[in-house]
């Protein structure tokens, strides 16, 4: 005999597993600070590579003024400007990463909690004997 209530609940749980399962594993396996730190590290690497690429384009485009600056012993001010731009770029990118991934982590936690609630409900439907085979 089909239990419609159970089917409804199982459908919701299956939907979650299908669509959000991967994201939820982050919330399950990581502490918040660790998770965000890891993402920031990846972002740091990405941002650094991206900045080098942008600088390469800039350097090729402005090759002559750049060489003039280097040869005219103005290299320190040039390095200062370079570092300043890099830090600014990095800070902006890391800030966005922090915001986005902190939001995602919280969302995943919220959904995971709801999923566990659903699982508990399903378990109760089996009479708490833990015999579900989902």
């Amino acid at each position: 005999m089909l239990n419609e209530k159970k089917i409804r609940l199982m459908t919701k749980l299956a939907l979650y597993e299908k669509n959000e399962g991967k994201e939820s594993s982050k919330a399950r396996n990581w502490f918040r600070a660790d998770y965000i730190s890891r993402e920031m590290l990846v972002s740091f690497i990405c941002a650094t590579i991206a900045f080098v690429l942008i600088f390469f384009l800039y350097a090729v485009y402005n090759l002559e003024p750049l060489l003039t600056a280097i040869y005219s012993r103005d290299i320190f001010s040039f390095v200062r400007r370079f570092l300043f731009a890099y830090i600014l770029f990095l800070a902006a990118f890391l800030l966005i990463t922090g915001l986005v991934y902190s939001y995602r982590f919280n969302r995943a936690r919220r959904r995971l909690r709801a999923y566990y609630r659903g699982l508990r409900k399903l378990s109760q439907m089996y009479g708490d004997d833990g015999s579900e085979n989902k």
Binding site: L2, M10, T11, A14, K18, I49, L57, V60, A114, S131
Partner: protein
Amino acid sequence: MRTLLEIREYMKGFWSRYSQAVTIGVKFLITLLALNLINSRIGYNEQLAGILPTLLISLLCSLIPYGAICGILAVVILVHLWSLSMPVFAVAAIIFLLMFLLYFRFSPGDGILIILTPLLSVIGIPYVIPIAAGLLYTPASIISVIFGIIIQSILTFVPANETQLTASTADEIVTALKLAMDGIFRNSTMIVLIFAFACTIAVVYVIRRLRIANAWIIGSGAGSVVCLIILIIGGIGYDTNLNIAAAFLGIAVSFLISLVLTFFFFNLDYTRIESLQFEDDDYYYYVKAVPKVSVKTPKRTVKTISHGRGYETGYEPENRYRNSRDSYDGAEDRDSYYEDIPSDEDRGYAESQTGYMPGDTEYSDSLSDRLSDSMSDDLSGDGTGYEDNNRTMDLSGEDGFIDDRAGRSGQNRR
């Protein structure tokens, strides 16, 4: 109008039945068109530009997500550019690398916009992209659209300057690099387009989120006007190649297309129809879950102090149109307005047939928000068979069903 509604219902049924095949077909077609465009503009590598590789790549792309399709198309473009000249290859490679490093790091899943922007530019209606992005996506899609415009700029610039871009000596390479960067980045048409599209997406998005009647249509109209104004100002202030008359025509056509989009997508999301498989001790279940549209309207309390009767009525409006007294037909006088709140039975024909609630107006953020909301709901049955608060589960006959035999034999899975 009735015919249109019937078409919409038919499309929804068609989609729910053949969604996977349609998705594959659409991806194949889009990739094929994109490859065709790339080959016709910059098909310098003749082996790759042949019919067989094109078809094979299209077939491959029909099975992968749009983000990955973008990656493959980027590789195809790079191979062609490599065949032409190293400097322009380098510039394009850096642009694509930046795109993947900076943007796909957050993978918002609107890669299709990157592909469609150059494609629609060919037929003169790229303006439909920012309007559609504002209607169907978030403002983050601005970045996708910008990359689409940059790719369009590459596809226009390179064939027009291919002789200058070929280089062999070191000096020539540096000159060609500068020329490539000038051509791609210092392209006033591109900059004006980027600015116009970004503003259009923002305007459309903001307006369609407002709680006003016909927000989608007003948003599309306002976005079209903003786009046209910026293009005109840009055309006057900068040296753009844009033909304003053609742009006006393109924007008008785009607005009409956005009306069609509004009709088909407002309140409906075809892509959220899901087919699921799961099992318990007794059965295998093959369920097709068709989303209803849920309401997330703020609770509104109307306090009427008049006629000396002074009563308080609390109700949750079912429909944004009913939030506005002007747009509610029954709002002849105050009493009849509040007393004539339609009951569930009055809410239209579609609910009984399709599980959608036509009176409902606004999605919650995403499927999963709805999931988490509904999970906490009391699941104590509403006596309507296979419906719950959010979805109609089609468990019958042909589409998604519970096959008792499958449960027992474990072989007749669909």
